[in-house]
């Protein structure tokens, strides 16, 4: 027990090393937050283009572009995409690394969100679509008022899962020397030469965040399920 307390003091209190974790956590949350927004927006747009194409045969060119995007992003590792974004695409410009990470993670997440949302849209019975159109609503109005709210409810668990995956995946941000939570823990390890305390703490912080997120999503799901209650 005394050993643990010593370990704790050495890793976190000495030289204010806890700041590595706190600042790292801030960076992790920052990247995750904005990447989720980019991913959601991008994903929705791509999903709508793809399902409009599937339903009506319109938007051929856009659909082709979206397909290339999905194939490339889902076919290559996240870390490689991050490295390419930083060292190749923004290689010759001096740019904030966190911004690069937000962009890379957002674009990556968008591909997964797109397929999740599209599956949700396609899962809604065509009769819903016909009912909307038969009342005189346009394709767009039918999508926005009738199809997407139902699709959203269907895919919410999968979307939440994607958020959780993204949160954890930002731990590779260290590859472009961003000091996120994981990197923060690793810096402490490299200074104190004790691996257990900093790494376990980092893991615990991720776990708590994921559990909180899971809990919140469960609450939201129960609220959305109101209309299913018999």
């Amino acid at each position: 027990m005394n050993g643990l307390i010593e370990d704790f003091k050495q890793n976190f209190l000495e030289l204010d090393r806890w700041k590595y974790l706190v600042n790292g956590l801030g960076t992790t949350l920052l990247i995750t937050f904005f990447a989720v927004i980019i991913g959601a927006v991008l994903g929705f747009v791509v999903a709508i283009v793809r399902s409009t194409h599937d339903k009506t045969g319109k938007m051929k060119v856009l659909n082709a572009i979206c397909k290339v995007y999905l194939t490339v992003i889902r076919g290559t590792p996240m870390v490689v995409q991050l490295l390419i974004t930083y060292f190749v695409i923004f290689g010759s410009v001096n740019i904030d690394k966190v911004f690069v990470a937000v962009l890379a993670f957002g674009i990556n997440s968008g591909a997964y969100v797109a397929e999740i949302v599209r599956s949700g849209i396609m899962s809604i019975d065509n009769g819903q679509f016909e009912a909307g159109r038969s009342l005189g609503l346009s394709y767009r109005q039918t999508m926005i008022s009738i199809i997407i709210p139902q699709a959203f409810k269907t895919v919410l668990p999968a979307l939440a899962n994607e958020c959780i995956v993204l949160l954890k995946e930002t731990s590779v941000a260290g590859y472009i020397a961003i000091q996120d939570l994981t990197k923060g823990g690793d810096i402490i390890r490299s200074q104190t030469f004790s691996a257990f305390m900093p790494l376990i703490t980092v893991a615990a912080i991720y776990l708590i965040m994921v559990m909180t997120l899971t809990h919140l999503v469960g609450k939201l799901e129960r609220r959305l399920a109101q209309s299913d209650r018999r």
Binding site: G127, Q128, D228, R229
Partner: protein, 241 residues
């Protein structure tokens, strides 16, 4: 009110409607019967362009709608209510919102006006206490009555019914037919695809028999059932009555 000229419809290679020519006047209650696969639902769905005709013209209220733009199509559908076999209520919205969604979204009524209209319609279909329920809590018959109310909220000039009682448990068929009968008595122009011969006999101003993508015979109901001419119709009637 609706003029159909040389209407043909094919799905891939299959010819479902073969050169249909028909006129439906204001106030008529046309009931379409026939064996399954005869094209009756497709014919009905062509009338409000749920299916795009392969060739031919449909003239609705003096306007050829087969060439209608997206915008014109939405406008004309506002004047043609449609009731589906599987109700297709919006499960994520309350009954009231199901009814008010389209009139409000299309800018025809304010939310308050639509709410008042919804209450009036719920009264009319006999479900005034269901306004704030979700569709999942209703029986099939109740759902279909709400679906009818939802269509009526648009003040349509004609109502299209696509086998409105086929998905219902037998004990719920009556309540829906009763409502449709009231609607007919109020003077609504109706085109009804159904297997309910009793309804056809009692409510129709004209009964049509379709088979193999053609209208083979039509008559006012009494003659239609008592004195069928076409052999296919004779066979059909002998099987179901």
């Amino acid at each position: 009110m609706i003029d159909v000229k040389h209407l043909c419809k094919s799905f891939a290679e299959v010819e479902v409607l073969k050169d249909i020519n028909e006129t439906i006047e204001q106030g008529e209650k046309v009931v379409i019967v026939g064996p399954s696969g005869s094209g009756k639902s497709t014919f009905l769905r062509c009338l409000n362009l749920m299916e795009k005709p392969t060739s031919g013209d449909i003239i609705f209220e003096g306007k050829n709608i087969t060439q209608a733009s997206e915008h014109e199509m939405n406008k004309l559908r506002q004047r043609m209510g449609m009731v589906f076999q599987h109700f297709n209520l919006f499960p994520h919205l309350t009954i009231k919102r199901n009814i008010t969604l389209a009139p409000v979204k299309l800018g025809l009524m304010t939310q308050a006006e639509a709410d008042a209209k919804a209450e009036e319609l719920l009264e009319r279909v006999g479900l005034p206490d269901k306004a704030n329920e979700y569709p999942s809590r209703l029986s099939g018959g109740q759902k279909q009555r709400i679906a009818i109310a939802r269509s009526l909220a648009m003040n349509p000039d004609v109502m299209l019914f696509d086998e409105p009682t086929s998905a219902l448990d037998p004990e719920m068929v009556g309540e829906v037919l009763e409502l449709m009968k009231q609607l007919a008595e109020d003077g609504m122009t109706m085109v009804v695809v159904t297997h309910e011969m009793g309804f056809a006999r009692e409510v129709a101003s004209r009964v049509m028999f379709m088979a193999d993508g053609r209208i083979l015979e039509q008559n006012e109901p009494k003659e239609f059932f008592a004195n069928p001419q076409n052999q296919r119709l004779k066979d059909f009637l002998s099987k179901i009555i």
